[in-house]
């Protein structure tokens, strides 16, 4: 972080994230992990993923938190842990202005993560995309289909062990 202008809000961000994490930790206890004080993206992990939707709703509606805005939801592959996961970047628009990232992980094969598509509508398409690219299920998602790849595409392209299919409807797939 060479730029001085960016440095100041960054450190403040971690402090704010810490306060946020404490509020969540009070409520949910050991369902959430310790806060990782990553200076660019402070995050915690949801250890009990069944509770992820409750945590999400709490984060959105608690007056101290008010994470009204989901900036991003990225699917991630953790091949060495044999897990898939999502990373959600959340932010509170308005006077609170704090942001935090949340990670949820699930098993690599047949993993299920509760959907937060109804909490943040942003998550709707992002979860579809994560499903499309990584293949984890989102339970409770209103319309879980592939979004970018064709419906009948085989495999999940962004997994690290992905092998591209040879032909698709008789068309040779390059590489």
């Amino acid at each position: 972080m060479g730029d001085t202008q960016e440095n100041i809000p960054q450190s403040g961000e971690v402090i704010a994230a810490k306060a946020v994490w404490q509020v969540i930790n009070e409520k949910f206890g050991d369902a959430v992990s310790e806060l990782d004080e990553n200076p660019f993206m402070p995050f915690f992990e949801v250890l009990k993923r069944e509770q992820w939707r409750d945590i999400a709703l709490f984060m959105r509606d608690n007056p101290k938190l008010r994470f009204t805005y989901m900036a991003c939801l990225s699917g991630v592959d953790y091949p060495e842990e044999r897990k898939l996961g999502i990373v959600c970047n959340l932010e509170s628009l308005g006077e609170l202005g704090h942001r935090i990232a949340v990670k949820v992980k699930c098993d690599r094969e047949g993993g299920i993560i509760p959907s937060v598509a109804k909490v943040w509508k942003t998550a709707d398409w992002h979860e579809r995309e994560a499903y499309d690219m990584y293949g984890m299920e989102f339970s409770g998602h209103p319309d879980l289909r592939r979004i970018l790849c064709p419906e009948d595409w085989e495999g999940y392209p962004l997994r690290k062990d992905y092998q591209v299919q040879e032909t698709y409807h008789g068309i040779k797939v390059p590489e």
């Binding site: 972080m1 592959d77 962004l158």
Partner: protein, 400 residues
């Protein structure tokens, strides 16, 4: 858990309202018809497909189908090294490549520890504001075409051409620049760029006024857009809207102010939100007005930064570029204000390889478009076109 279900829905509902909304009497309704709008349709701005359930002229529901322009950006990004990702970023939002590059470089520079020369920051801001004007010109022009006015479109493209010439002069390419590099920019401004850029600002102001008179103030245009596609602020936030879309709903939120990246905190500009005098806040016209106002603000920013930019003889804009870009292990979410909203990159680095372990692009159009289904409920087909136009999608960014 019942409460959970209720609470989940509590804040999310679009109630389409407005003066110009048509009330459809249900007793004359007939059979539903499925109408496929796109992927090759003049007003879907690329290869978007909308599967519309229609009842006469009324669209009961429109379901967007994406992926026709999916070019595997995220997979590509995992295959090539960091500087090699930048050209691919260019091709995502091809109307605002500079801004996209800027966002990506911000993300990577957060991971790396690089000191960015001050002049480089100014160059970056100036070119990306130029590109923002160019992008908004396309947005406004194509919106005019969607509503049947062809002439404003060509006026917009005429002015955009000057910007492209300016950017070609400094970056060497007209559209896909690969100009903002990680840790610097590719070239310094050419001799005389400042004068020409100021001339452009002088040239463009009356042209923007003319555009306003020809299009924005036109009664037919107002009638076609005012009160159409209403999006209340809280729903817009819940949908994750950003950029002109969110500001069109009256939320004063601009990453240039919020994140205060680069030299934006030093510049004097305002966040454009509609004041509700000409438009109903949250409708298509508001979004259009925000774009028109932002062009003016961008001109201000360009003027200011051209004045403030430190002059250096024999300045090497590539001096700060690291020899080998191999960030330490970690993850970062970096973002910048794109003409279409927040363009963010979630980058995960393992500290060993020169290419990202995971590079997720949070594209603004993708998120903005996700509200399409809800916005389209019970609209007329012409209004549907008007709404798609006001979202200002670039399919290259939607599908990545």
């Amino acid at each position: 858990m019942q409460e959970l279900g209720k609470a989940e829905h509590s804040s999310v509902r679009v109630t389409p309202k407005g003066d110009n909304r048509v009330i459809i009497e249900k007793d004359i309704s007939s059979e539903e018809m499925i109408l496929n709008m796109g992927p090759q349709h003049p007003s879907t701005h690329g290869v978007l497909r909308l599967e519309c359930k229609t009842d006469g002229e009324v669209v009961i529901e429109a379901e967007p189908y994406l992926g026709y322009l999916h070019r595997c950006f995220e997979k590509h990004a995992e295959m090539v090294d960091y500087p090699g990702v930048v050209p691919f970023v260019d091709r995502m939002d091809y109307l605002a490549s500079m801004n996209s590059d800027f966002a990506f470089c911000i993300a990577v520079e957060k991971l790396l520890d690089v000191e960015i020369p001050r002049r480089v920051e100014f160059i970056r801001v100036i070119v990306s504001e130029f590109n923002r004007i160019a992008s908004h010109l396309v947005a406004i022009g194509t919106y005019a075409i969607d509503l049947g006015a062809f002439t404003p479109f060509l006026f917009c493209f005429r002015d955009r051409e000057h910007i492209l010439n300016l950017l070609e002069w400094t970056s060497g390419a007209r559209m896909l620049y690969n100009y903002i590099l990680i840790g610097g920019v590719a070239y310094d401004f050419p001799e005389g760029f400042k004068e020409r850029a100021l001339e452009f600002v002088k040239y463009f102001r009356p042209k923007a006024l003319e555009l306003q008179k020809l299009l924005t103030e036109n009664e037919i245009f107002v009638k076609r857009t005012k009160g159409i596609g209403m999006m209340p602020a809280d729903v817009a936030i819940n949908y994750g809207w950003s950029g002109p879309m969110l500001r069109g709903s009256g939320v004063e939120w601009d990453l240039r102010k919020e994140d205060a990246y680069s030299i934006y905190p030093e510049l004097d500009f305002k966040v454009c939100v509609p004041d509700g005098r000409f438009s109903d806040i949250g409708d298509c016209l508001s979004r259009h007005l925000v774009r028109a106002m932002e062009m003016e603000e961008s001109l201000n920013i360009i003027e200011q930064s051209l004045e403030m930019m430190p002059e250096e003889d024999g300045f090497d804009p590539r001096a700060a570029i690291p020899k080998r870009i191999r960030p330490k292990a970690g993850e970062v979410y970096g973002r910048a204000e794109n003409p279409r909203g927040e363009l963010g990159f979630y980058i995960q680095s393992d500290g060993k390889s020169t290419s990202p372990l995971r590079c997720k692009a949070r594209s603004s159009c993708f998120v903005n478009l996700s509200a399409m289904k809800e916005l389209s409920l019970g609209q007329l087909i012409p209004d549907l076109v008007s709404i798609i136009g006001s979202i200002d999608i670039v399919l290259g960014e939607v599908d990545r």
